[in-house]
């Protein structure tokens, strides 16, 4: 298990917050809350060691060419594949947008 931190440039914080997923096998839990303006911070607690570069690439690909909202994101990962991570994050962004 290891804890990883990431930071990306962002726009304005949203109003609401959202929770998606579950710390089940091959899945992850994502808690999204309003962050400081201009900053997106992500804390990842993952059961898979040595996966820092994979997370970095996944986030870079996802935020490439767009300005994400300013969020403070907490991830509790239980061995989710990059595809599942991306689906959960997109689900979380969508739910935050609805609030």
């Amino acid at each position: 298990m290891e804890t990883l931190s990431f930071e990306f440039p962002a726009g304005q914080p949203p109003v609401g917050r959202a929770l998606v997923g579950c710390v089940g096998s091959g899945d992850l839990e994502v808690l999204l809350e309003p962050g400081l303006p201009g900053k997106l911070t992500i804390q990842v607690l993952t059961s898979v060691n040595g996966s820092s570069a994979r997370w970095q690439h996944l986030f870079e690909r996802m935020f490439d060419g767009q300005t994400p909202p300013a969020l403070s994101i907490d991830i509790h990962d239980f061995g989710a594949t990059p595809g599942v991570v991306r689906l959960r994050l997109e689900q979380g962004f969508e739910e935050i947008g609805h609030d």
Partner: protein, 283 residues
């Protein structure tokens, strides 16, 4: 109706997560979660042992109403650590039941609904989890003096260990075909009894002895319902309206003990024999 049409019409309860289940049973718009995941009251023990924790510790506690009656609902997330009960999740459930009993002493008729998907105590938290389960037992016995405590075992984890005793203490127990209920899980029994007597990988065999249908037919559950959100919601609401049972099932332990004493252990027991043993002499 064709099978596919029937399947499309059905909305599975088993497939829902704990929070969705709690929402699905409460009156629309009445769901108010207590100690929600953003409160970050999580297990202090799992990370120390290299296990990723979950923000709500796998237990969702909410207040709301069912058919207009105030209830507290506790839903265990079976997908997180097998629904195991740790210090925090256990305390959330015990505390919710204790507050519901306090409500009743203050003139508010709060009942409780427990959605039980659990393998029992969380081994990483050992005695703290067991202590929490004992508190849950005591709180159920206290609250059921005022209002029904309704247990629902929908599946697919089932309800085992100390939490199967909690299920046994409930005023009413609702099960589906997917449910299983037992003090020990199949693998533990296999380890103790031997694979010739109890093969934990033989699913039809396991369900024939511990499955929801068998438990209902043996009188250990009060309702056997389809895995359908509406059907389960309606069943829980009906039981709430019924009020407290005339006699709690756990109050009839003398009768159950007497029937178990009649068991002939010289031959291998089968599901039909279990049913007739529990039902006693039929008139």
């Amino acid at each position: 109706m064709t099978d596919s049409a029937r399947l499309l019409k059905q909305h599975s309860f088993v497939e829902l997560g704990a929070r969705q289940r709690a929402r699905a049973l409460l009156d629309e718009g009445s769901f108010r979660e207590l100690i929600d995941p953003f409160a970050r009251i999580t297990s202090p023990w799992l990370a120390k042992q290299g296990v990723v924790p979950q923000a709500d510790d796998g237990v969702v506690v909410a207040k709301g109403s069912i058919g207009g009656q105030p209830v507290v609902i506790c839903a265990i997330e079976g997908a997180f650590q097998g629904g195991s009960m740790g210090e925090v999740g256990g305390a959330k459930m015990a505390g919710a039941l204790e507050l519901a009993a306090d409500d009743n002493r203050n003139g508010i008729p709060t009942a409780a609904v427990l959605l039980l998907e659990t393998g029992g105590v969380r081994l990483q938290e050992a005695n703290l989890g067991l202590a929490a389960i004992a508190e849950i037992h005591a709180a159920i016995v206290d609250l059921r003096r005022y209002q029904p405590v309704i247990g629902v075992v929908a599946g697919s984890v089932g309800c085992f260990g100390g939490m199967s005793i909690a299920a046994g203490l409930c005023s009413y127990l609702v099960v589906t075909r997917e449910a299983r209920l037992g003090l020990n899980g199949p693998q533990v029994i296999e380890q103790e009894a031997g694979i010739e007597e109890y093969d934990s990988r033989d699913r039809p065999f396991i369900w024939s002895l511990t499955g929801g249908e068998q438990r209902f037919a043996s009188g250990l559950a009060d309702a056997y319902v389809a895995d359908d959100i509406k059907a389960i919601q309606q069943q829980v609401e009906d039981l709430l309206h019924k009020g407290k049972p005339e006699q709690e099932r756990s109050g009839q332990y003398a009768l159950f003990l007497q029937r178990l004493a009649e068991l002939d252990t010289s031959t291998q027991i089968d599901p039909a024999a279990v049913r007739s043993l529990y039902q006693g002499e039929q008139p």
